[in-house]
């Protein structure tokens, strides 16, 4: 039973709080360094594209942001399901902490896509399957956040919003495969599992650096958010009282 005890150890807010506090500076550091490297390489080192020239460089923000927003949705729905099924408080909080970051990345994805679409396709927006299903994901994020904040009791809010998150999860594979299932204006997969990548290796590596940077950023901000949530929900417990006493006496934990 050692394995299950390991997970139980970290599923307790009391042990997760200091552990996550140690992780955050690392995540922030990795995100800052890789983002600087990625942007430098993306804007100055990588070659222009043979057709789009320099305007393609928005790919270094667009693709990592879009991937991140879709991954965050799946992780959020996963935590929401764990919270709903096994009644794990920390999982409920993790789901809630991921939503704003996912929504922001979705907005960035739509925005950079529009800025890229105008010079490339000749239109900021078209109602093709990829763009439309992706817009639906933004509405799902907003609905999730709104529903969560509309119910005062945090546990009831988590349960109600968990259902929305899980149901909306159906949309993510539809977004992903939309360019394969239907003819869309958006181009099909450039990089996908089981397929040779159709992008120059330098461009691919730069993009991957940005992807890791966005992962680290997401981890950092969602952990910061979940720690706030932990303190708020556990404010009546003895360990939070001790922590607050410790910090008000000037001793940092």
């Amino acid at each position: 039973m050692a394995k299950s005890r390991f997970w139980l150890y970290f599923s307790s807010p009391k042990t997760f709080y200091p552990f996550s506090g140690k992780l955050i500076p690392w995540c922030v550091g990795v995100a800052a360094v890789l983002m600087a490297v990625g942007l430098y390489m993306g804007l100055l080192v990588t070659p222009p594209d043979y057709r789009m020239g320099d305007s393609y460089r928005i790919i270094y923000i667009h693709v990592p942001a879009v991937w991140m927003s879709m991954i965050i949705y799946m992780v959020m729905a996963g935590w929401a399901a764990v919270g709903l099924i096994w009644n794990v408080k920390l999982a409920e909080m993790m789901a809630g902490a991921l939503a704003p970051t996912g929504a922001i990345f979705t907005v960035i994805g739509l925005w950079t896509g529009a800025l890229w679409g105008r010079p490339t396709w000749g239109a900021y927006w078209v109602w093709d399957a990829r763009l439309t299903t992706y817009l639906v994901m933004l509405f799902l994020y907003m609905g999730y956040i709104a529903l969560r904040s509309a119910i005062d009791d945090p546990r009831r809010a988590s349960k109600a919003s968990a259902l929305l998150a899980i149901v909306g999860g159906i949309n993510v594979p539809i977004i992903y495969f939309s360019v394969k299932w239907w003819n869309t204006l958006h181009q099909p997969f450039t990089v996908a599992p089981g397929q040779e990548s159709k992008i120059d290796p330098t461009m691919l590596w730069t993009m991957m650096i940005m992807v890791i940077a966005f992962w680290a950023y997401t981890l950092a901000v969602s952990l910061i958010r979940v720690r706030c949530d932990i303190l708020e929900r556990e404010k009546n417990s003895s360990w939070v009282a001790e922590l607050l006493q410790g910090s008000s006496a000037g001793n940092k934990q």
Binding site: P47, V167, G169, I174, L185, Q187, T190, K198, I199
Partner: protein
């Protein structure tokens, strides 16, 4: 059965049911979700008559012709099986090129010519530096010359 197992089964069955429902809906929507029709589909009468639709495909090499007014252009769109004539009055997007993808919105004229009122360039999923493209073109030319000389 424990309550949490019940909830687990509820969630799994629920998601599976939703996935099936979504699959059926998307399958039913299939033709409406398509952003454009290919020339083959248009020739097979799958595109709506007397109504605006989008036609997508590759611009045929050396098919682009401009009229003297400078705005009216004629080109051909192909999906490598069927080819259609397109007429458009307006400014083409920067990325519009022969041999590249295009999506035109408009109506099918009675003479079989597609009258476009909007043209969008479709770019493919390949990203590479111009030098690589040059190298590929040179390689293709060299190959062609080789073939010509061996014939």
């Amino acid at each position: 059965m424990k309550a949490r197992n019940k909830r687990l089964i509820f969630v799994i069955v629920g998601v599976a049911g939703l996935a099936v429902a979504a699959g059926l809906v998307l399958n039913a929507l299939n033709s409406n979700v398509a952003f454009f029709f290919s020339p083959t589909e248009v020739k097979a009468d799958k595109a709506p008559k007397d109504r605006t639709f989008r036609l997508g495909g590759m611009v045929v090499d050396k098919s682009l012709k401009r009229e003297d007014d400078g705005l009216t252009v004629h080109f051909q769109v192909t999906d490598k099986l069927e080819t259609m004539d397109v007429t458009f009055v307006g400014i083409l997007p920067d990325l519009f090129q022969e041999g590249q993808g295009v999506v035109a919105q408009g109506k099918l004229g009675s003479n079989g010519v597609f009258m476009a009122d909007e043209v969008l360039a479709k770019h493919d999923e390949t990203y590479m530096p111009p030098e690589v493209q040059d190298a590929i073109e040179k390689g293709e030319k060299a190959n062609m010359q080789k073939n010509v000389s061996t014939n």
